[in-house]
Structure formats: C-alpha cells, structure tokens
Symmetry: C3
Subunit: 452 residues, 3 copies
C-alpha cells in the first residue's frame, strides 16, 4: 500500500474519506459515569477533529454539541448546565441537547427572533447510552443505524466493566495492535513459566501462529492456531467495523472483552475497553484486578489536556507514559517479563505511542514507509485493504453494509484448545460459540451467523 | 467582514497595516515599578512582534532597545546595566538608551571606528514615564505625538493604581470584550441579588441594553441604556484609539478606570489597567481590594515565559488560567455567581483565551468565521469598521487624526441613573461629565469635548 | 556570506551537504560510561537528525543502530539486550550490533527466510571506543578513516576526563564560540582582579587581541596575542575538522583540553569536552573541580528529553538553563564577575542558546542576518569559509583531506607569555609545543607538524 493509502485511513477530520466512514457508525464518546447527575459539570471532548462538549441535562438526557457558542465563540464548557440546556456564561445564550438555541437574552427580541435563533443553532449529534457508555452518531441523520447489538450492551450493569483512556497516537496503529495475535506471545509474555504450571500460562507460547481469515459483512474473523503440546490452541477474533476487536478470553469459561479506538483527531485516540461475564456479575475481585491496571485499562487520572491546537479536552491520562518510559523496570525485564513494563496496556502503548512519526507535522502518526510486514500481519493487511475498499466505495456513494446490520455485532471471540487443525473444520464444530448467547450453558437467543 | 478583514486587524508585526497603526500611538510597555532603580535588572519585552529589552540607566532614564547585540546577536538581557548603558556580556559592546553603540572594546579602534559604531546602532524607541507606566513610541520619529492627555496621567501617584498582566490571546478579542456592555449583565453577575439590596447590585440586571454610538476623532463613544425600576441606568463608554476603553464607574461618585490591550505579538497580549480617584488618593482598602484580584488585575506572579518562537519575556502570569480551568467552582456557579469563576478578569480571560483558534497556526487568534453578531455587538462592529478604515487610510498615506490630538483623551466614562430616555438628550445634560475635570465638585480645567 | 551559506552549514540531516561532511569523520556519540555493562539498558541517541539506539552487547561490543524495528516500527529502546543482540519486545525480532536481523520468531521460517532477514537489516554504524567515548562513523563504508590520533585518546584512563551535555542550539553557533578568543576577556572574566595577584588572573585582560591565522589540512591554527605588562600573552588554538577546537591551558605546565560539537539535529547539539594531563593522572581535586561545573561540563542530570518531532533522547540536561535564566545572580554581576552567571559553560550557553532564531521554524538556529562581524571574528569567518569550501568540494566529489589524515590530530593548544611579537617567529620558537608529546619534559614521539 502506498503512502497515499495510509493518509486515506489515518486522516479522520470533517470531509476526509475515513472520517466519513467513521461517521456512519455509532461511536463510544465518553463514559456515562463522567456525567453522573443532571445539570452537572459538562465534559470536553474532541472527536474526529471536532471540538465538542457533552452534558447531561435536567431531564437526564445527554447532549453532545459544538464546543463554542455561535455568538462570540465563547467556550460552552464554562457554561451553566441548567433547566434543560447549557447556557453560555458570556451573554447568556442557551442551547438544548438538540443544539437548538432556546434563549438569546442579551437583545430585545426582534421581529425575526425565530429565524435568528434558528441561525444560532449549534452542531448537535444524537446520543444513546448503553453499556455504561454514551454513544454518539456523527453522520447524516437519514443514515443513522441502530446501536450495534453487542452482547455486553444488553447485560445488567454489574456484568460489565467499561473504561476509557487517552492513547497518544493515531487510531490506526493502535487498532492494528488488536488484530496482531503473534505479539501476545512476546510483548505480553512472562519469563520462566514452569512446564508443570497451569495451561493458561503456556497456551500462547507458540509465537508463530498459523492464521486464516474469512471476510464478513461486519468486518472479518480470523483464526490463529498455535501448537500446544500435542494439540492446538485456537484463538478466533472478530474485527468489527469501523475499528472494534473482540478479544478471546478463557478456554474453559467464556470471558467477554473487546476494545474500540475512537479518534480524537489524527494524532490522539480515546480508547474504550469492555469486559463482561454473560452469566453472572463480575466479582469484586475481578473488578479490582481490572481497575488495578494489570489487564485493562491503564492506571489513569481523569484530567484535562491541552492539545497542540489549543483545545482542552477531558482525558483519562495513563500514569505510565512516554515521559517516564512507561515505568519500565529493566531488572524485571531480565528476570520476570519480556518487557519489564507492568500492565498489558502499558506494554501496547509503549510501542504504539513511540513509533517514528510522519515528518513535518505533530507526532502521532507512524511513518509506515519503513515497515516490513510478514505473514503474522495478515489480519493487519486484510483490515487495511478492507477499510480502503469501504472508504473508496463510500466516496462513490456506496454505503457500508455493516453499519446497517447492527444485529451482526452479537459476537464472541473464541479461545479453545482442540485437536482440530483446519480452520473451517474448527469453525464448523465451534463456530456457534462465536455467537452471543450460545456459550455452553447459555439460555440466550442465537444471533444470525455473520461468518460467510 | 470577510476573513481578510480580520487578518487586517489581528496581525501586528513589523510592516503589517494594523502594526503600522499601532506604531502611530504611544503604547504602555511596562510598569515603571519593574525598573525600580538605576542600573537594575533589565526587563525582557516583546511588543508588536519585536523582541526588546528595557532598562533604567544610571541617570534614571529608561531605554527600550532591540533585544540582541548586533555583533554576534547575544541577548542583551544578560547584559551589564552600568554607567549609562547596557553592556553585552559576550564581548563587552555597549549601548545607551538611544541605541547608540558607545563602546566596542574587543578590537583595537580602527580608523573607521565612528562609522563602525554607527553601523552597530541598535533599535531604540522613545520612552516616556507617566502614570506609573513606561510608554513607548515605535513609529516614525517625525510622526511622534504627545502622550495622550488622560486624566490619570496628570494625577499624583497615590491617586492612581496601574497594573499589567499576560493575556493569552490576540489583542482584538480581548479589546472587543471591553466595548461589549451586555456581557456584564451575565458574565460578571452574581446570583440571588435581593430586591431590597443596594442599587449597585441591581443596576445592570437588564441584559438587553439599548445602544447608541457616536463617531469621534479619538474613536467613538457609546451609550448603553438599561431599564432600572422606572428609570434608566446609563453607561457611557469612550473607546479611544488604538485600543483603549474607559470603564464607567460609580453612579454617585466618579471612579476612573480603563484598560489598554498592547499586542505582544499576534497571539499574546500584555494588558494594562488603571483605576483612579481624581479628588483624593486611593484608600488602603481600595488598593487592597484591587490587588486581591476581584476587580482588576488578576492575581499574578511576575515570571518569565518562553514564547513558541523561543524568546523569553517577563510577564505577569495570572495564577488562574486555562491550565486550571480558571479555578472554576461549579458549586459556586450554582449558588453564588453566574460563572463560578472568581475575579472579573478571570471571567473575561476564561472566555477570550479559550475561543476556537484559527487552524494551522499557534493558538490565540479566534476563528471568527463562526460568529453571529447581534445588536448588542454594535460597538464591536463599529470598532472593526473604524479600525479597518483607519488602517486602510494609513496604508494610503493618511495619518490617523486621533494620534495627533492627545488633548482629546481627557475623558471620563459616565455611569448614571436617569429618567432621560434619549441618548442625545442624555449627552446634552450629562455630556460634560465625560470630560476630565468636570465631575461634580471638580476644580480642574475642562478639556475640549471630543464628541462630534 | 549570504543566508544560503548559513543554511549550507547549519543543516545536517541525511542528504544535506554539511551532513555529508560530518559523515566523513568519526564523531563522539556517547560516553562509554553510559553503557557500563554488557546487556545493559540501551541508550537513545539522535545524531545528524537520525534516530538511533546504542547498546553494549553480551560480548561488550557497542552497537549504534536505527531506533526502530523494521517490522512494525516499534522502538528498540524498550528492547531486550540479550545474547549478542537487541530484541524488539513487540514480536521478538532481533538484531546484532551490525544491524543484521538474526531472529524473526513470530513466523514459521519460510523458504526465503535468509532473504527476508536480509531485507529486515537495520541501519548500523561502525563504533569505536577510545578516551572514554563511544565514537560513531556514519559515512560511506569505503571512506571510513582511522580515529583521529588525538593525544588524549592514547593516554591511560585516569589521565583523562571526558563529559557530555545537551546544548540547546544549532552546532555552529556553539562551535564558533570556541574560536572566539576575545570573548574570554569579557564573558569569562572576573571583576576586581588585584594588580599584585597571580598572573593567570590578569593574563587575558587585553580584550582586543591581535589575531593571525594559518590554514592547515586539518583545519586551521590561529594565534591571539594579548598585551601583558611589557610582554605578550599568546594563545594558539587549533581548530580541527569538522568542529573540534583545542583549548589553550596553563602557561607553565601543559593542560590538555578541547571540545566537540556534535549535531543532534539542526536545533540541538550534544557537546563533548575532554581535559587531560599527558604526564600524570588527574588529581582527585582536579576531577572534583571539573565535576563541580565551574569549568566544564555544566552541572547536569542524565535524563530523557522529548524533541519536538516526538523522539525521546537520553541527554545530560544542564540544571542552569533558559528556564531559570542560567541562575544569573545580578548582585554577583555587580560585584564579582562580568556576568553574574556561575560556570564557564553556563556563560557560553546563556548567550548561544538565547540568540534570535530563524523565523518560521523551531528555535535553535541563530538568524545571522543581523550580525556585524569585526576583526576579532577572523577565526569565525575563516571557519565558515573553510567549511563552505569543503562542503562544496565534497558535493562535487572531492573528499576532505583531513578525514584521511588522522595522525594530524596529535595537537596541543599553546598558552605562553613571551616577548616575541610576530606570530611566525613565535611558531618557529614554540610551534613544536603544539605537537603532542613535545611539551617540555615529554618523552613521547613527535607527530608530524600540520602547520603549513
């Protein structure tokens, strides 16, 4: 793929082809818990290079609207969130969650007041809350799909853990890390695993998995087969448009997990992770382990970050970052783990955030001209090709099918030890477990298969 | 006004049309108190995008000169301020307050020594001290006007309080806030004002004042009429070229105040405020209240700031700033004041410094393409048109009249409760109070009226 | 010299003419002590605008290689330095000190595995260790010269002190400070030297030395003659390509010293200093004095710095810097020293790092258009002309002679009080002392004279 191709996929601002593709899907925008109460503090966002502000109004409805008052362009973040609207503190103009200007109190209402207020309407995007997340749809109204019917969105709150954090790179190099199965045998591995220890510590030791991919409407599914004693350790991962990936969990009991990479702009990403148990609430110990940062998310502080173009956004800043070398412990690197970096996300970020940047602009987009992809990168290559195709088709007026088929998203990644060597055979036997609600013991309905 | 027009007014560097207009006027440069003693520490400045250094020489004279030694371009800030000149510490070259090179000690004087020294002359601008401020004139020598005959410049030192601080935006969006009377009814208002409380808490509650403007040689004067019980609360403000505004004070006893917005460069401003009592010294309580930061200036620390282009300047950095959300208190916003931000200047800066910036350059200039001006913005529109006209005329060789009529600046803003409804009628009755020295009880001379 | 000429000398990235000249010479890259043990922590470097990483392998050999793994461009700094190579922690690819890819463990070796590994070779530059420094040669293999035969490189370790630090400017304005003899009479002078004190405090008081220059193959040599009582204080300095300068030491007993200015990129420099005694180890007191920072190097902390383009490098950050005005003490400037800045290097950096920068790019390259060179700047002018000539010749295919004559670098600067007034006469009498090994009492071999 030429350099052009990467610009095609990495640039997400208004009017860009990839930005347009993102704008066909519901995107996680922020956690519902960031807006715990009606009329509370607004939250600053930047999504797809647009400056926005989110607020929960008096009725509990969430608005995600343009960040600035259209009068004199004062920031609405400082505004008063009151009586079903956000009121700019400069001159008191007020806007509801739909972006409608509902008050202009610093003039005597002229004859054309309705028209004036209509002109003063601000950008507003539809918002839905599900799975502990406020979702936003930034595309054309008439193309608005349903929320993706992911299993975790349908579960009781206590079954699901959702989180977000700030990822200091372009979205694509982060997302590519999720469909790169071989790296878990290295980056996330520990040293000195005893041969007689539990299987799960040894499952992914084969660093050169065999990979097979099948195209689907929702994206693609791929199977990675690792040698494990005299059998195989299979990991089957769904990559769902525009940038979701399901993460295979336990081989015995299903553990749901996945991540989304939502572009703040071309150089920054807000990442979301979910983990869930379909059958039962997460235990206190499980929640504690997640929040401790060893798995996901990283240990973060909610804070405010000024981006180079001057807009301040509210972020969850990981405490391990480039400024402290991700707290790498070189002694631990020799004795305990492959990296000496604690935390799966810290390991990923250390590499993805420190790749060489495209020259001549702010850091964040990896300069892919130097890369040498190999067989283990088949899913990455497949994803790039598929995105490129969809982006080009959309530019020619062909809407992405996946966006219209939310029911396709009811998927589960599969992790399994098996003696089956062939992927198609494996999927014939185990494929149904990749559909939400069909795990052993499940009582849920079976979603239609998406694997072609 | 098109985008072009805004570039015309926001760009102030050498050779720009607006920069040229600024260079026709005396500008506040720094506080005299920053150079308390002869031969003291130099002060770094940047004005109209020029790097400068100010120093008070052995005789007490202030020089404002180019920041770099013309020999090898070492920064004169580190220089020795001694024996009526500043001496570069790199090779000992020395310059007096006029920018004349008076010593080149690292060579044996050649035959052409006088010519060599003449070639080594550095930029130097005329300086005057008045009102606790060192003023600079950066224009053509032959066009140098008198200092503006502002009332506070003629008063004993103890009658006047002057201050300066760092404003992190282009000068124009800051200056426009000063001629925007309606915002005081919102941005600077407090909540829950009792109906039976003192008038001054209720005077400006009418957020939709009627505004009338009259063009003048010095700029313009505008009157804002607010309903107040069964009478009117009038505020009459003079906007004086190039960017001064007088602030209406008490309705009973005259309180003088005003502000100037001096461009550091296109992205930063050094603001000056004055407050004064013509008849008497400011009381200790008044000074204490001003210095506490509730009115003006903000609570600041004198410190050094590196600008993006590498030059360090001495600034008064407000402690409430974008990095701490101007210390907004959301509980106070609900219960006590419209913003929850403490301090009038903090309230202004929160909005003006956080407006959306023009893309593709460093933050600081608001991208006005999104704004929707309404009737309350008449003075802003008037100021833009007037500045545009003057800038264009100057480019065609027509000098600004105001710069040549310093006596016009002897003006007082007027705040008054009256039953007069018509602005011209109001000015016929009260206009004389807008001239320095004619407040009730005044014994001073009356300056010539500037209102046309 | 026109502006073009300065771009010719200040730009050092790959493909630039001056960058090419630098690439013909061995350059100090880092201190050997930064890699104290085999398989230790890698060190991040940036040299001539190339991002690199240095590591000492299991056998003690030092590799300086490209900073990123060629697979997915993960930073090798986080890599595992083990078993004679650095292994990327993303997918386990491994590289030896020669840049050869010796392991690709995340794929099943294909038939074309040798070719694949050959394609995955990374940039690697030859490294030598001498004088406590790891040297790198970044030029064409077939042009690789010998290490320069500098005296201090041949001495026992305890005779030599080497150091490095971060200099926040382009290399050229730093290097020019080294061949600028007159500045020591000002910038580095102390006040109130008693007339009856030791000679060494008064030697350089004549700030207008007479300067004579002689061209040489290795660069040039210049003599600076200062009046000293009824005799002359001579300082003879060799400037050695591409940017070395020897520093004249004691007049009685020879003290060796010199500095190199190695470009990190166009805006940053890593500086190296050496000091040595040919006849004996440095005393503990001498080492302590050097490390205290009064002479060289500055007091620094080894730390990591993110450069504007996003690459983090390991630097020795001086604690006195632009952010704290180099800890200038204005009272000391009045009473004790010419600058009030403590430390010879701090004095140099205060000026060189704070010169006005070229507009339109990041700070660091002085905008020389404003400079006024005089007779004291003859060596600077000579160096610029010589570099320009060599750079242009190299562009036309003519290799620099100096690079091929490492034995020419066996030079000593000379400091001497003498009644001889003529430079050629002085060199006839004392020139041999400028050759390593011929100081009074020396038993070493005499290097061939390089003075033409």
């Amino acid at each position: 793929m030429q350099e052009d191709g990467f610009n095609l996929l990495t640039r997400v601002g208004p009017g860009t082809p990839m930005g347009n593709l993102f704008r066909r899907f519901w995107l996680p925008a922020l956690l519902s818990s960031e807006m715990p109460e009606p009329d509370g503090t607004p939250v600053r966002l930047r999504l797809l290079s647009e400056d926005l502000v989110a607020f929960r109004d008096t009725d509990g409805k969430v608005g995600i609207v343009g960040a600035y008052c259209p009068h004199k362009l004062a920031p609405l973040f400082f505004g008063r969130n009151e009586q079903c609207g956000i009121r700019c503190v400069y001159h008191g103009w007020k806007f509801n969650v739909h972006g409608e200007c509902v008050d202009i109190p610093n003039i005597i209402p002229p004859d054309n007041f309705p028209a004036l207020k209509e002109k003063a309407r601000i950008t507003s995007y539809p918002v839905r809350e599900a799975g502990g997340i406020a979702w936003v749809y930034m595309g054309p109204q008439e193309r608005m799909p349903e929320l993706p019917a992911m299993e975790w969105l349908t579960l009781p709150q206590k079954h699901v853990h959702t989180s977000r954090w700030f990822h200091r790179s372009n979205w694509l190099q982060a997302a590519e890390g999720e469909i790169d199965t071989s790296h878990i045998s290295f980056l996330h591995s520990v040293l000195n695993v005893p041969e007689d220890g539990p299987d799960r510590h040894r499952l992914a030791r084969d660093g050169a998995p065999q990979i097979e991919i099948r195209d689907t409407d929702y994206g693609f599914v791929y199977g990675a087969r690792r040698r494990f004693d005299d059998r195989f350790y299979w990991r089957v991962t769904q990559w769902m448009l525009p940038m979701w990936s399901a993460i295979p969990g336990g081989t015995d009991e299903f553990i749901g997990a996945g991540r989304a990479w939502v572009p703040i702009d071309d150089y920054h990403t807000t990442a979301f992770a979910y983990q869930y148990r379909p059958e039962r609430p997460l235990s206190a110990a499980e929640v504690k382990e997640i929040d401790a940062g060893g798995q996901f998310p990283p240990r973060s502080t909610k804070g405010a970050t000024q981006l180079p173009h001057g807009y301040v956004i509210d972020t969850f800043l990981p405490s391990a970052n480039q400024g402290n070398d991700y707290l790498i412990d070189r002694m631990a690197q020799r004795k305990e783990s492959f990296t000496g970096i604690w935390g799966v996300n810290e390991q990923d970020r250390a590499l993805q955030e420190c790749m060489p940047s495209l020259p001549g602009e702010q850091p964040g987009i990896v300069d892919r001209r130097g890369e040498h992809l190999v067989k283990s990168d088949l899913p990455t290559m497949f994803a790039r090709r598929k995105l490129t195709k969809l982006v080009r088709e959309l530019a020619e007026g062909k809407e992405p099918v996946a966006a219209m088929q939310s029911e396709q998203y009811g998927l589960r990644a599969i992790a399994k030890v098996s003696s089956i060597a062939d992927f198609d055979e494996f999927m014939r036997v185990h494929g149904e477990e990749g559909k939400a609600g069909v795990a052993p013991g499940s009582r849920g309905a079976v979603a239609a298969s998406a694997v072609q």
